[in-house]
Symmetry: C2
Subunit: 233 residues, 2 copies
Amino acid sequence: MPRKERHTLGEQAAKNIITYIQEENYQPGDKLPNEYEFSELLGVSRNTVREALRVLVSRNIVTIRQGAGTFVSEKKGVSDDPLGFTMVDDRVKLTKDLLQIRYIIEPSVAALAAQNATPEDLEKLKEILLEVEALTGQRMDFTEKDAEFHAQIANCTHNTVMSNLIPVINMGVEIFSSEISQREYEQTIRSHRSIYLAIRDKRAADAKEAMQFHLLYNSNRFMEEKVLSEEQL
Amino acid sequence: MPRKERHTLGEQAAKNIITYIQEENYQPGDKLPNEYEFSELLGVSRNTVREALRVLVSRNIVTIRQGAGTFVSEKKGVSDDPLGFTMVDDRVKLTKDLLQIRYIIEPSVAALAAQNATPEDLEKLKEILLEVEALTGQRMDFTEKDAEFHAQIANCTHNTVMSNLIPVINMGVEIFSSEISQREYEQTIRSHRSIYLAIRDKRAADAKEAMQFHLLYNSNRFMEEKVLSEEQL
């Protein structure tokens, strides 16, 4: 079975390239050797290198920019749609499931962030907080910046898996509310500030509670709109 | 840029195949139309279908068995190594980070399982429990069955994201102990039984507590072996 064989060669070369990236301590964004150089380094054909790189691109381990070369991906090997959200038909159920998971994880993430954040982490968190506030002040869509705020809290934990997981779970949450009221803009600002201040001052218990309130407030909006209205007493 | 163009066609066809799978309600393991049929169905070339299928294979949405055809993947679109564990150099830190996340998530998962499990879910959970016990009784490696036990608890929650997430986090935890003592075999059996019984009897609070004890017991073994021994008072 030559097909199988070729597959294995490419996979093996992919593994060797991963080892090479780690041993040479390449960082996200760094430029890697070209096809020819990899072929020399690994002692395999350029065809095999090409196949290996295709595998690594699909796993978001490297990225190829036409004309510029091959780079270590900024996505750090986290796949697109890693948990298969695309394959879930019922989007309301998916959103409900994700809100449930966020409520389980993120309060503890906030507590760990309060415990472990460095001054640099906090500086970045404050920057993002102010950007969210600027957007809400102008009544602009703050979804993306909001996700960044939660992702930076995950980074503050210094738990690598948390840093990779939180953006996946947050990006899966679909915007559910057709209209965001004045009240919700204000609530977002107040909640984010409480969370930020508690993390900054290393008040882990308060950070956890502030995150609980923030998530419950938002879940509640969703449940009222999409779920409770269909329940009978 | 013909390359870009072709990429987009394949990606578009991949999206259409996903929609087709969902609309026709295909389940994991079901056989899909062949290349020729998809080409007719989607109104694209067989080359484009082939490219689309390659994308879907790499995302674990479909699987191709040589000579047998194309099937909906049992992996339900969850990528291999979805959170990029391969790219983390420090394996001890990775294990520590994963144990931390398990401790945050799994007790709540056990509580939800106690609340939501159906009789069929419980039957399957019991079956796996007995298999783990049989393996520990023979002093055989029970790692895989143990992971299955935890995955089935996640299934009992009926939260789709949980079902997809728990196996990812558990598979990432590397076996850390070179020797498993008699004591640990007994502890595994006792902990699993407590968790199972609490879930079966819908005692959510007890299920949560039993899972907390189980995870802390195991983390503790790891911390004593790998982390605490290097800390100074």
